[in-house]
């Protein structure tokens, strides 16, 4: 009997999400422990799943014991297991740190917040474990709807930003649904593995071509790929801190995962590389996204908005890696999913901590901050170094594979773009770091003796930040192990 981990990983948050409003109505402080418990179960299950997949290969779990292609199948291969761990671990970490900020920012809505939080995590986890196209749509919408609602309970501009996000997101999901429909009409199947077997005979058909196009646009809207990124800066800037810390590392990366699935599993790689210039377009779009994100981020003074644009650039990296479509490039893209999730989680958690303690978001107001919150700002610096791509942080290693992939594919322009973006990121982040660490000389008469007491963020926020920072530092050096044990198998053979 297949162990029930694939379904457990989704079921536990889902059921808990239903119970939270009831329990919350009875006793409000039980919500937080319940959320942590549910997410821990998910995280543990995903670790088990990874272990099982590492030993025995792909896991197939049939819902309701119906065989595919009639039933819905959950397929967990290396890529799925990898994504599942990322999603569950990061959501657990963010949930741990969310307690204080939610109480401060959304005092009356704590219960509903946690309910929506769990629903969103359910949606995201569902996307990464399912092997059925329509099931993916359902979970995609669950995650998105929970996301719209979560973002809307933020500060002043949030409902409008969320409405915009909703319009764009619905278009994206509907395009996805449309393409699933097209594929169903010509193949009669909704199962991913099945489709990958049936489709190669149909590659010349216009329907399949249209389906692919709709897929890319739909998924591009969800993962904020340039030029479909327009909703992201507003949505992530105005959302509450705990929400941006959850959504920013995960939603776009899960979208990127869907992109990889479609381009490399459902449609065989040869379709996007040889038959249509799909990967070429993706790589160009990715490169432009990188430059666009970095350059626009330079003009922002609100730290959260700046990070949102950096996020757009990071999505560009992954798209570029997918578009390069060779072994090194795809390895870099998948590794970057992990690294970027960690980096963005750290950065947004730090922003949340700063907001909680000091209430400042403008980078020009950050003087003296390193005295008040030294540990938090040290974590910020390390995450910033990772975004820039300085070894031994993890960001360097994914950039290394991406550059290798670019040179391998003889696309030196992309290698140059990657390196230029590192420099732009350096300008971006060192602006903030300078403001934080160096005090203007005229600000204090007697330098060095002005005592600003250390007033660090509370432990419930500090420990998650430290965990993620430790991850950034150690996973970089361990990236060789990660690749050889997990990612290597996730890259389709023959690239």
């Amino acid at each position: 009997m297949t162990p029930p981990f694939p379904i457990l990983i989704i079921l536990v948050p889902l059921i808990t999400a239903f119970f939270i409003p009831i329990i919350g109505w009875w006793r409000r402080d039980l919500c937080y422990p319940l959320v942590i418990a549910a997410l821990s179960v998910s995280a543990l299950s995903s670790v088990f799943i990874l272990h099982l997949v590492g030993e025995g290969g792909t896991i197939h779990y049939y819902l309701g014991s119906w065989d595919p292609p009639w039933g819905i199948e959950y397929v967990i291969d290396h890529l799925n297991a990898f994504m599942a761990i990322i999603v569950s671990a990061i959501s657990l970490i963010v949930a741990l740190s969310s307690k204080r900020s939610v109480e401060r920012e959304l005092p009356q809505k704590v219960v509903y917040f946690y309910c929506l939080f769990l629903l969103q995590v359910t949606g995201l986890l569902g996307i990464v474990v399912t092997g059925d196209m329509f099931n993916l749509y359902v979970f995609l919408e669950i995650a998105s709807l929970a996301g719209y609602a979560l973002i809307a309970i933020g500060e002043d501009g949030a409902p409008f930003a969320s409405f915009n996000y909703m319009i764009y997101g619905t278009i994206g999901a509907c395009f996805y649904l449309l393409s699933v429909g097209y594929l169903y009409v010509v193949t009669g199947s909704l199962n991913m593995a099945d489709l990958s077997r049936i489709l190669p005979d149909l590659y010349h058909s216009k329907v399949v071509l249209m389906a692919f196009a709709f897929f890319i646009v739909g998924v591009g809207l969800k993962m904020a790929l340039f030029p479909l990124h327009v909703w992201l800066p507003d949505a992530y800037t105005y959302a509450p801190s705990a929400v941006s810390a959850l959504v920013a590392p995960l939603m776009t990366k899960v979208g990127a995962y869907v992109l990889i699935r479609i381009v490399f599993t459902v449609f065989k790689p040869s379709f996007s590389i040889e038959l249509i210039p799909g990967t070429a377009i993706l790589s160009w779009v990715g490169a432009i996204a990188i430059l666009f994100g970095c350059i626009l981020a330079l003009g922002q003074t609100d730290l959260k908005r700046m990070l949102a644009y950096v996020l757009i650039a990071e999505v560009g990296y992954i798209a570029l890696g997918v578009g390069l479509a060779n072994k090194a490039g795809l390895t870099g893209a998948i590794l970057h999913i992990l690294n970027d999730a960690l980096m963005m989680a750290c950065l947004f958690l730090v922003v949340g901590a700063i907001l909680y303690k000091v209430g400042l978001r403008n980078i020009h107001q950050f003087t003296y901050l390193h005295r008040k919150m030294p540990i938090t700002m040290a974590a910020f610096t390390i995450a910033a170094l990772s975004v820039i791509g300085i070894p031994p942080t993890c960001g360097f290693f994914s950039k290394w594979y991406l550059v290798l992939g670019a040179i391998d594919a003889n696309q030196w322009l992309f290698a140059v773009v990657l390196l230029v973006s590192s420099l732009l990121n350096a300008i971006l982040f060192f602006r903030v770091i300078e403001n934080v660490y160096f005090e203007p000389a005229n600000a204090h008469g007697d330098r060095g003796h002005e005592e600003i007491s250390i007033d660090e963020a509370p432990l419930s926020m500090l420990i998650p930040i430290l965990i993620v920072t430790a991850g950034i530092l150690s996973l970089g050096v361990l990236s060789g192990k990660i690749i050889s044990s997990v990612i290597q198998f996730a890259v389709p053979a023959g690239l």
Binding site: I390, P391, V403, I407, D408, F430, G448, K481, S484
Partner: protein, 497 residues
């Protein structure tokens, strides 16, 4: 080449990282304990490095692999003669700089001392990592650690000028790093490996023009840290840093790491044979000569003492690169040896500049008249070191210049010998007035107000370095066997014996 396995390289590199953490946690409240960590770490580091000396001198390579990144590249330390050379130099000079820093910082009651010592220790981790790296990727990792760790040191004073200097520093070095990144990727794509091999491993791996392009990108990349002209501008600007930092930059770690990396690329990635096939050595030698002459002339024009010393450093670094470019065994020996010789001499000069600043707050050459009579030991050391830079026996600078001239004769290119002689003349031109004026000119009014030698914490290191410069000039193998190791490295590269 026999390979011995040991964890000593890793220990040597990480002992200062551990010290950095201890310094950070000890903080401002217990300053003596904090300084103790620095001293302890520097002494331990030097002992670890010195303990590897017998193995290296016997011709073996000490290897220590930490973790594999991907097929063909690992985080690996391989201590060969050249790496050992630089490692010894860096760790020895760290001891001197640490003692000096304590004196300097306390003398000026500087702010942010914990950050200073923390970054210093981290920088030394980077420097030794660069020295012991076994492949380009490991080298790059520690190279970047060095860049990031030295940035807060350069911008230490936090004045707008210092912050600007720090920004320029970072801009130059990170751009160089991006170029190195690209070159690394290209090398790996061409050869599938990044390990250093004496004599190079790039032969026959790509078209001539591709290899020439690769050489240029590598050179521009590492050349930023080695202050090759025209990408040298960050170095004079970085003189806004406190003097021990400048000493670190110039003598102990940063530019030495830069020139070390350039030499690694020239001699261990490309190799003498490939370089002469592609005629690149000529380009490099001419670039180096241009830098030597121009920096010498620019040094004459500087009034700020530290800026003058900065251009002198650029001068000497180019001399080292020229030694490598000439590709003959004597030139290579001379170039490598000059890394150490110049290190000791330059650090003395910077220590003197710092001592003068602490005692008198004077920074400009024109204001130093008569100071030699008030601070005889300090200025005496300055005189010795300056003579050495110009290449006067019996100071160590003479030996390296002698071998370089031999090397240019061996390579049958006399013009470079003339370049070296011209640079010696320029050195005399910009150092001699300082020495003369400090001892023999009428002192300016302020000198009589009881100025005397700086605290022993500063004077002892600077005198010691000056004395060592002389001792090394007479017996180049004294204490550290620099010359022997340099010869070993040259043999490894050129493949004799």
């Amino acid at each position: 080449m026999e390979v011995a396995s040991s964890i000593r390289p890793m220990l040597a590199v990480s002992v200062s990282a551990l010290a950095a953490l201890l310094i950070l946690f000890t903080g401002e409240r217990r300053r003596n304990l904090r300084e103790l960590w620095t001293i302890l770490a520097s002494v331990t580091k030097f002992s670890l490095v010195a303990s590897m000396m017998p193995t290296v001198l016997a011709g073996k390579i000490i290897e220590c692999t930490i973790i594999d990144f991907s097929p063909g590249i690992a985080l690996q330390f391989r201590v060969d003669a050249f790496g050992f050379f630089f490692g010894t130099l860096a760790s020895v000079l760290w001891i001197a700089t640490s003692i000096y820093s304590i004196g300097y910082m306390r003398g000026l009651n500087e702010h942010a001392q914990t950050r200073y010592f923390f970054c210093f220790a981290l920088a030394l981790t980077g420097a030794l990592g660069v020295a012991f790296a076994g492949n380009v990727l490991t080298l790059f990792i520690f190279y970047e650690i060095l860049t990031i760790a030295t940035f807060p040191l350069v911008a230490h004073r936090e004045t707008p000028e210092a912050v600007r200097g720090g920004r320029k520093y970072l801009a130059y070095l990170l751009t160089g790093a991006a170029l190195v990144f690209f070159s690394m990727g290209l090398t790996y794509t061409l050869t599938g490996s990044l390990d250093f091999a004496g004599g190079g491993f790039l032969r026959g791996r790509g078209s001539d023009n591709l290899l020439r392009l690769l050489f240029v990108t590598f050179l521009l990349g590492f050349g930023t840290k080695a202050a090759v002209m025209p990408i040298h501008e960050w170095l004079p600007t970085a003189m806004v840093a406190p003097t021990p930092v400048s000493a670190l930059l110039h003598a102990v770690a940063v530019v030495k790491a830069g020139v070390f990396c350039v030499l690694r690329v020239v001699l261990y990635v490309f190799g003498p044979q490939l370089l002469s096939d592609l005629n690149l050595w000529l380009v490099l030698a001419y670039f180096a000569s241009f830098t030597i002459i121009v920096s010498g002339m620019l040094a004459l024009a500087q009034d700020n003492l530290k800026r003058r010393l900065a251009f002198s450093t650029i001068n000497n670094l180019a001399i080292i690169i020229m030694g490598a470019a000439l590709l003959s065994p004597s030139a290579i020996i001379g170039g490598i040896f000059h890394i150490a010789g110049h290190g000791f001499m330059k650090i003395t000069l910077f220590f003197v500049a710092g001592a003068i600043y602490v005692k008198t707050h004077k920074e400009n050459v024109s204001e130093l008249d008569g100071i030699g009579r008030a601070m005889p030991i300090t200025m005496g050391s300055f005189a010795i070191a300056a003579m050495g830079i110009a290449g006067t026996p019996p100071v160590v600078g003479f030996i390296s210049k002698w071998y370089l001239c031999l090397g240019s004769l061996e390579a049958k290119e006399i013009v470079f010998m003339f370049v070296l002689l011209t640079s010696a003349l320029l050195d005399i031109a910009y150092f001699f007035p300082i020495i003369y004026n400090s001892f023999f000119s009428k002192p300016q009014g302020w000198i009589n107000s009881g100025v005397d030698e700086a605290s022993w914490l500063m004077v002892v290191p600077l005198t010691a370095c000056a004395v060592i410069s002389v001792i090394l000039g007479i017996a180049p193998d004294a204490f550290f066997r620099f010359f022997q190791v340099a010869t070993l490295a040259a043999r490894n590269i050129v493949g004799i014996g």
